[in-house]
């Protein structure tokens, strides 16, 4: 994934759409993912199928690349819907939209909706991720 300019989370408003991010999951990427999570399921052996959480991990990485998340950020909750099976060498495009960025005393609640489609524009994954962050300091 190419390096992108990050936005300060204090600047995010509801409805903000991040620049879409595209990524291809080839056999080496999927093999590295399966090794990292110690997944030896026969479902992924010689079938060409991609674990849905690998797609999710890349969507989350794209989101992390787009926001300045300060130390102290806590990933509090996560929702995912796995909508269709994905195959090795598929190319995915991840879309992320701020659904809430709310100050709560010393903290911020940031909720981002995620949608991932494949190269045929087919919806593959939808999700919602929630972070609690320390309130931005003055001037940020």
């Amino acid at each position: 994934m190419p390096e992108r300019q990050k936005i300060e989370y204090g600047q995010l408003v509801t409805g903000y759409e991040f620049t879409p991010s595209s990524y291809k999951l080839d056999s080496s990427v999927v093999a590295a993912y399966l090794r990292a999570v110690e997944d030896t399921s026969s479902l992924y052996q010689d079938t060409g199928l991609v674990p849905p959480m690998a797609i999710a991990a890349y969507a989350m990485a794209a989101l992390s690349d787009a926001i300045c998340l300060p130390p102290g950020t806590i990933h509090v909750s996560q929702e995912f819907d796995f909508l269709d099976t994905a195959s090795i060498d598929n190319t995915f495009t991840s879309y992320a939209t701020v659904s809430k960025n709310q100050s709560r005393g010393k903290f911020h609640l940031l909720i981002v909706d995620l949608n991932v489609i494949n190269q045929h524009q087919k919806a593959m994954l939808a999700g919602k991720t929630s972070f609690i962050l320390p309130a931005p300091s003055e001037g940020t």
Binding site: L43, D65, Q78, F82
Partner: protein, 143 residues
């Protein structure tokens, strides 16, 4: 009584999901950072992490969530890949040296003419019994 991995006949409420047990190592965490492109120093830089309130590195929440997905795949096969849903909360960080037990139980089964919807409660605990992840999953099984 538990679900036999991949065997979807005879599902009933209260059945346990096939439990997983994973030992978290810094090597696992580093591998996951590489595989997911998530290089947040709280996961991989011990010197940095020691100076934070967490006092040391922690596993990516998404790594532990991958174990939940692995359990669901073992139970429901391809149905999970295209028809799975999860809705979880991260409660306590998992750290190198922790043993994480991943388990769950069928909470409800709804059948209609075209599909069966199986809802499950899932829980990941560390070796001290602390909840690491709590939440719900569901899977649609087409007829």
């Amino acid at each position: 009584m538990g679900i036999r991995p991949g065997e979807l006949t005879g599902l009933s409420e209260g059945m346990s999901l096939p439990e997983l047990r994973k030992v978290i190592t810094q090597e696992n965490i580093n591998l996951y950072a590489e595989a997911s492109r998530d290089f947040n120093p709280i996961h991989i830089n011990e010197d940095f992490a020691k100076k934070t309130p967490l006092g040391g590195t922690i596993a990516h929440g998404m790594l532990i969530l991958a174990y939940v997905s692995q359990m669901m795949t073992a139970a429901f096969g391809r149905n999970w890949l295209a028809g799975g849903n999860l809705n979880i909360r991260f409660k306590t960080p998992a750290r190198p040296g922790d043993t994480i037990s991943v388990g769950g139980r069928i909470a409800s089964i709804e059948k209609n003419e075209s599909q069966t919807l199986v809802r499950c409660d899932v829980l990941c605990r560390n070796q001290n019994g602390d909840s690491v992840i709590t939440g719900e999953t569901s899977v649609r099984i087409a007829k």
